[in-house]
């Protein structure tokens, strides 16, 4: 599989920083934890970039991200917490003409975020990597170190559970 590989840490930070932040936020529902994770992941990428062998960069990066996340959860010895309401976004949007429409969109988003946090970790992780990060099943399989069939099953079961809590 040929793919272009970001060569420098700065490029990784620029291209993937926001994705890593959103991955962590959707997994934890907590902006501070997400910010900490971004910094930890970039530190690990910086250390590992020299020994990185060209191949699936996405698989490599998201494996690092996932491991950093799990290490962090173990260290804190707690499960991810429920999200705070997205106050800042609401204030920003309140001044725009489309505020009402945006309020309702974000309130639906809050429900979805809450439902995500109720999923068992393996399902939540698979759904977030697929629908938020945009990885293929094969890339998710590499990142999570499970067969593609397992990824397929986790994503589908995750979505069915989401449906139950959203209806």
């Amino acid at each position: 599989m040929t793919e272009s590989v970001p060569l420098t840490w700065e490029e990784v930070a620029r291209v993937y920083g926001r994705k890593i932040y959103n991955f962590a936020y959707r997994l934890t529902g907590n902006r501070d934890d997400a910010a900490d994770l971004v910094q930890e992941v970039l530190l690990r990428v910086r250390k590992g970039l020299d020994s990185y062998q060209p191949g699936s960069f996405e698989g490599w990066l998201w494996r690092i991200t996932r491991n950093a996340f799990l290490d962090d959860v173990r260290r804190r010895n707690r499960r991810p917490t429920a999200p705070l309401p997205e106050e800042v976004d609401r204030w920003d949007l309140a001044s725009s003409p489309a505020a009402d429409i945006e309020y309702s969109r974000i309130s639906i988003g809050d429900d979805v975020q809450k439902a995500l946090l109720e999923l068992p970790f393996e399902f939540r992780e698979a759904v977030v990597l697929c629908d938020i990060v945009g990885l293929s099943y094969e890339e998710i399989a590499r990142a999570v170190a499970v067969p593609v069939g397992t990824v397929r099953s986790r994503i589908h079961r995750g979505r069915k559970l989401l449906r139950e809590s959203l209806i």
Binding site: A13, G17, R18, Y25, A35, V38, Q113, R152, I155, R159
Partner: protein
Amino acid sequence: MTHAGELISAYLDGELGRAEIDQLLDHLDGCGRCAAEMQDVQRVRSAVRSLPLLELPPGLIPEADAEVIPLHRNKGFLVGAAAAVVALVIAVAAIVTPSATPVSLEELNSRYAARASLDPAFGPAKVVVPYLSDFLE
């Protein structure tokens, strides 16, 4: 096929081969339960995908805050190296004035190495260090 199950998600994600797609579509034609599940899963999938993508907190990754992203690595590299040389010229000029505390070349080099190891935007040692020693001699 008993029921379509996870083929539904894989289909929506574009992860099925031709044969599996045909098999799924045939099944959906005659199975109301799976057709309804397809609709539900599609709705959930869209809801998750339309969650807003959050901006990075400002200052979290200075590299990601840059407005202009150089298209070519070398360009950014040269700008970084040039900035480092300018910074060093200023630093060395300050050091060689009579009132400055004497600093050995070794110490300057080690300071430089420390900065370079912490700050990736700082220029490469092989370019700047010979320049520094020339200046002091």
